[in-house]
């Protein structure tokens, strides 16, 4: 019977997902302890942002950007303003070794 095979597959996948969610819950608690430890680092270094995008100052510190230009200075980057999105990146900026 095909429906039996389908139900077995459905239940197996549901159990795998449930298992992953339980693993996530357990791992989340362990990770929570690690992250709580990192909070001391945030306090001692007086950090304001996560170190995710390091390409520009407004992406490295999004919370500290200017009032008037959320994404500035870089044509081709994600922009609030339409012109910034359509102006392409100058070739010399693509080759960091050529920057004096």
């Amino acid at each position: 019977m095909k429906y039996r095979r389908f139900l077995i597959l459905l239940i197996t996948e549901s159990l795998i997902l449930l298992g992953l969610l339980l693993w996530g819950h357990y791992r989340g608690q362990t990770e929570f302890v690690r992250l709580t430890g990192l909070k001391d680092l945030v306090t001692s270094l007086m950090l304001t942002d996560l170190s995710i995008w390091t390409e520009a100052r407004y992406t490295r510190h999004p919370s500290q950007t200017d009032l008037f230009s959320a994404f500035q200075d870089c044509p081709g980057c994600l922009e609030h303003f339409p012109s910034g999105s359509i102006v392409s990146v100058p070739p010399h900026l693509r080759r960091p070794e050529e920057i004096p």
């Binding site: 019977m1 095909k2 429906y3 389908f6 597959l9 459905l10 996948e13 549901s14 795998i16 997902l17 992953l20 969610l21 693993w23 996530g24 819950h25 791992r27 989340g28 990770e31 929570f32 690690r34 992250l35 709580t36 990192l38 909070k39 001391d40 680092l41 945030v42 306090t43 001692s44 270094l45 007086m46 950090l47 304001t48 942002d49 996560l50 170190s51 995710i52 995008w53 390091t54 390409e55 520009a56 100052r57 992406t59 490295r60 999004p62 919370s63 500290q64 200017d66 009032l67 008037f68 980057c77 994600l78 960091p96 070794e97 920057i99």
Partner: protein, 382 residues
């Protein structure tokens, strides 16, 4: 119950008759759910991580705006700020960016006072020592005891001995950091005496933060106070699935899904129409045909939903989202390893369900309903 099972059996047989087409459909559908779930899980985990960590960020950061741009802050603003009731302390912060031409990476250079020294087992940094993040260490192939060479504004190469490397577990905070002693960073960036990059204000009562920020702005009009709430809100909106960066990634996958569902909704194939006509001619009710189509949609969408969600979970939380990394990374040379805390809420699973399964089910049932309502002879002849 048996009747429903037989209709399910019939629906499964129908799907098996067109097995290659349906298999391709299942793969494409699962892939779309995988992409959408990966984006949802990743952004949600990043949002929660930012929320947890940045709760410890400074209550207020004070910048100075001059001619519409950031400028160095006079350190004597500290006295003005400390005189505001409710302020415990205000201290200058020295930091900046350094572009390393050898690796093409941008470092964040940060000055610390001895009292804030973050390395356990040591009390202080020597003036020529530095601590580096794991990203800086990997990019520059630097280990403890090596020298990190940075060129100062006068063009003189200054070597700094690496006194320690931040562990990869903290890379989401420290990946691109180069920590120097406060005096060293002032000398290196040639920050004039009596000035700092910004000020950090500690407030006794968190509920007074906004009031104190307003008072700072009143007392020093050229200042720009940024509160902790604003920092938290920045990350909340940055990683919200309905806005900003995420939407730009998300919208592509979602559009692909809607085109897929729309294609399904615009009509049945001639073979499917004939099947419906034959079933009606041999005595099936319209409700039976609708139920069969419901089962067909449910079989495909439940399998695709579960497969897509499971693979999305594994991709983000076990493998560190390698397929999304290049999209997120942009031009960044240094990018932290995304070992995220698995945070999944029922809300996310429901969002995923409503964005994918519900439109697909509707797209499967609607044209079948139309065909089931038509006269069987007309359906077969058409």
């Amino acid at each position: 119950m048996r009747r429903h099972l037989f209709i399910l059996e019939f629906a499964l047989s129908g799907l098996c008759r067109r097995r290659y087409k349906n298999l391709a459909l299942l793969v494409a559908y699962s892939l779309l759910i995988f992409i959408i779930s990966s984006i949802l899980f990743l952004t949600h985990a990043l949002k929660r991580e930012a929320e947890l960590l940045l709760q410890s960020s400074p209550e207020i950061t004070v910048q100075r705006l001059m001619a519409g741009r950031h400028a160095l802050v006079p350190v004597d603003w500290v006295d003005t700020i400390v005189s505001i009731p409710g302020v415990i302390d205000a201290s200058p912060r020295y930091w900046g960016y350094y572009y390393d031409p050898f690796t093409g990476a941008n470092f964040t250079v940060l000055g610390v006072r001895s009292s804030e020294f973050p390395l356990k087992g040591r009390e202080d940094l020597d003036p020529e020592d530095c601590l580096i993040g794991s990203g800086v260490s990997e990019t520059g192939l630097l280990r403890t005891g090596d020298s990190l060479v940075m060129v100062d504004p006068e063009g003189i190469a200054r070597p700094f001995r690496v006194a320690g490397v931040f562990s990869t577990s903290s890379s989401i905070l420290t990946n691109d950091l180069v920590v120097l002693k406060e005096e060293t960073i002032k000398r290196f960036f040639q920050i004039p005496e009596g000035y700092a990059v910004d000020l950090v204000v500690r407030v006794a009562n968190p509920s007074e933060i906004d009031t104190i920020a307003k008072k700072i702005k009143e007392k020093i009009p050229s200042s720009r106070p940024i509160t902790r709430t604003e920092i938290l809100r920045t990350y909340e909106s940055l990683f919200d699935w309905r806005s900003g960066m995420v939407l730009s990634m998300f919208i592509g996958a979602l559009l692909a899904f809607f085109i897929f569902a729309w294609d399904k909704a615009t009509g049945l194939s001639a073979e499917e129409r004939r099947e419906i006509g034959v079933l009606k001619a041999i005595g099936w009710d319209s409700s039976d045909i609708m139920e069969m189509k419901f089962w067909e949609g449910l079989v495909l969408s439940s399998l695709a939903y579960l497969t897509g969600t499971i693979t999305g979970f594994v991709h983000v939380f076990m493998l560190g989202a390698p397929l999304l990394e290049s999209a997120l990374k942009g031009w960044s040379v240094l990018f932290p390893s995304l070992k995220l805390r698995p945070v999944i809420e029922v809300y996310q699973l429901m969002v995923l369900l409503f964005l994918t399964v519900v439109p697909y089910m509707a797209a499967t049932i609607a044209p079948s309903w139309k065909a089931a309502m038509t006269d069987p002879e007309e359906v077969i002849r058409s």
